[in-house]
Amino acid sequence: MRLATQSSPVDVLIVGSGAGGGMATYALTRAGVNVTVLEAGGPWDNTTDSAMFTWPYQSPRRGASTKDRPFGEFDGCIGGWDIPGEPYTVARGDKFRWWRARMVGGRTNHWGRISLRFGPRDFKAKTFDGLGDDWPISYDDVAPYYDKLEQLVGVFGSKENVPNAPDSIFLPAPKPRCYELLVLDAARRLNVTCIPARLSILTRPLNGRAACHYCGQCNRGCKTNSNFSSTNVLIAPALKTGKLTLRTNAMVREITLDRTGRASGVIYIDTTDGSEHHIEARVVVLAASACETSRLLLNSKSPSFPNGLANGSGTVGKYLTDTTGTDAGGFVPKMMDPVPHNHDGVGGMHVYMPWWLDNKKLDFPRGYHIEVWGGTGLPEAGFGGGIQEQNGGGYGKQLKNDYRRYYGAYVGFSGRGEMIPNDGSYCEIDPRVVDKWGIPVLRFHWKFTDHEYLQVKHMQETFRALITEMGGTPWGNMPSKEDGYGIAAGGVIIHELGGARMGADPKTSVVNSNCQTHEVKNLFVADGSPFTSQADKNPTWTIMALSMRTSEYIAAQLKARTL
């Protein structure tokens, strides 16, 4: 049964409340526009729902994962790789895993808050190496929005003038932890650039939000809103304007069209009772995540768009990428028998390594950055697991003392690099499978090429060199070529981009440089789907800058009555 939910159309309807949807909501309500947001998941408020400061022994599970909290039961993100009733399929022989958040704020409740601007070269990479495609916009088009974003949300870091890793408007960076100084020294000796991290966590109060209190638990959701989440930094102030209607548990099924070929609204399912609703809007903004946005467009078929809405080019769902990733850790004897002290710090690394090499001298294109972890954190479920790999095993008093001695005596590195879009990596509608609301689901295809494999091989070699330089021993052997050098399966790094890529040519792209679909003028995209390419940076910061830019465009067009 379909129910109408409102008498007159809303100005702007936004699908999704994560990084892109949250920013669009914030920017448009600020501009005085009436906005309705549909979020597939449930309500969430970090100030009341976070598990910050919880001790592991307050739960019988001691912080271990649950079905809807794969990153641990205290984690602030409800969702996962497998959501009951919401399947997806993967083509035979391919590997892809799809992470989805189901809550207000979406995946901003999950991410590591690594907030990196894309560099000038990232928007025009094809010009340099002939691979993939250039964006129709340049760094200079986005830079003013990065500026505004940083003044609104806050990011710490330091001015470094690293090529193609532009400095932001930074809050002061926290001093490195002791073991991070060890990493810095090793990196310096190996000529690897290592600089203060750049995370959207407040080291000074900003816009009414308190500064960080260094409990290291950003992933649980911050009760003082000292880190960024769309929920509490964008959606909450938007609600205060009185311009926002937020509907949770609203799973959008399809975008509807009017007779003139304009988007007229969406049909969504209230997941609490299964009822179906039509909501009308003057402008529709899709910010459901790269893959969900592709799914929505592909499922919105009509006589004028038989292959899916705004898909005249046939490129919806195509040019899908994820960040390349691999990790390695190792035992560092110097770190044994730690001097007791609190080095929780912020909820993430205090130092990182931006891309530092020249590809002309390498056998792969594009770069990666390195994230750093280790040290004596809060013991949670899994503590001391596999100690026999380090001390040989045993039991009794000797073993008990070994646990103390080895506590935190490790460092680890995660490489996160740029994948080049390829024809074998895309999503489409599965011809047979539907979810529990009857909505056809996505089928993923995934291929890496030697560009990615050789890049990941280089990551592993670098990590192992760093660990050895610190006097340590890497855990396990270098992954073999047969194991893809340890490359994470598609989707596992949770940086899917593309699917509705930006371009000047409507024949080869879905949206224009304002993230407006070429074919439907009042339909916009404000998540990771318009990205023409990846970069060796996490995408969230650029998703938000682009969303802000698109929102300003929408607000101006509404004001001029040209939409």
């Binding site: 022994y57 002791c178 020294d185 209190h213 409990c215 110097k334 002290h341 503590f383 001391g384 095993g393």
Partner: protein, 196 residues
């Protein structure tokens, strides 16, 4: 200082409200932990049989015994933790149940009695054959796999207990008004220092 007062108040609010934010299990956990520590009423395992329960308790204390710094695995509530995890993650049930049975079978073959009925010396004799993976004989591989798992679960339960965290001298999970980096002793130990 106004800000100091404000942040102090937030920290207090956070601590006193801790139970409200944790999942419902937290309530049960706190009760379990208290019961395990004070032992006023005997704990009734949901998964383990009475004999398995006896075996788990003996074995866990062999893995992590009481020493001069802290108590034993059973004193920290490790068997109760294991029992909960068996029902929380049913995939672990067969390896646990089967591993305990393997241990009894092995001891019975040799001594005609169960593991818990064996003397402490007899118990450690068998552990010596499965606790060191690289030194273990190939025919003990199932025992090695079981003991690796059991040792991991014991460690997970012990070091995440209040007793374990105190033993490790972990000093975080708290409100830090100003991050000043790590103290000189910690830097000295690693041979590092802050630059300018």
């Amino acid at each position: 200082m106004k800000r100091r007062e404000a942040v102090g108040a937030m920290a207090m609010a956070a601590l006193t409200a801790a139970f409200k934010w944790t999942p419902a299990e937290a309530q049960r956990a706190a009760t379990l932990a208290r019961e395990a520590l004070t032992a006023t009423t005997p704990f009734a395992p949901a998964f383990f049989t009475p004999h398995e329960w006896d075996t788990v308790r003996v074995l866990a204390d062999l893995v992590i015994p009481k020493d001069e710094r802290s108590g034993s695995a059973t004193e920290a509530g490790v068997p109760e933790y294991m029992d909960f995890m068996m029902t929380d993650r049913p995939d672990g049930q067969v390896p646990m149940r089967g591993g305990l049975a393997w241990l009894d079978n092995e001891v019975y073959e040799r001594l005609g009695k169960t593991f818990v009925a064996a003397t402490p010396q007899e118990q450690t004799t068998i552990l010596d054959e499965i606790a060191w993976p690289k030194k273990a004989k190939p025919e003990m591989s199932q025992g090695v796999a079981f003991f690796n798992m059991f040792r991991d679960m014991t460690a997970s339960g012990f070091w995440t207990s209040k007793m374990g965290i105190t033993d490790l001298n972990y000093q975080g999970n708290t409100f830090v008004a100003e991050w000043k980096g790590c103290p000189p002793e910690a830097l000295q130990k690693l041979g590092v220092r802050y630059g300018d």
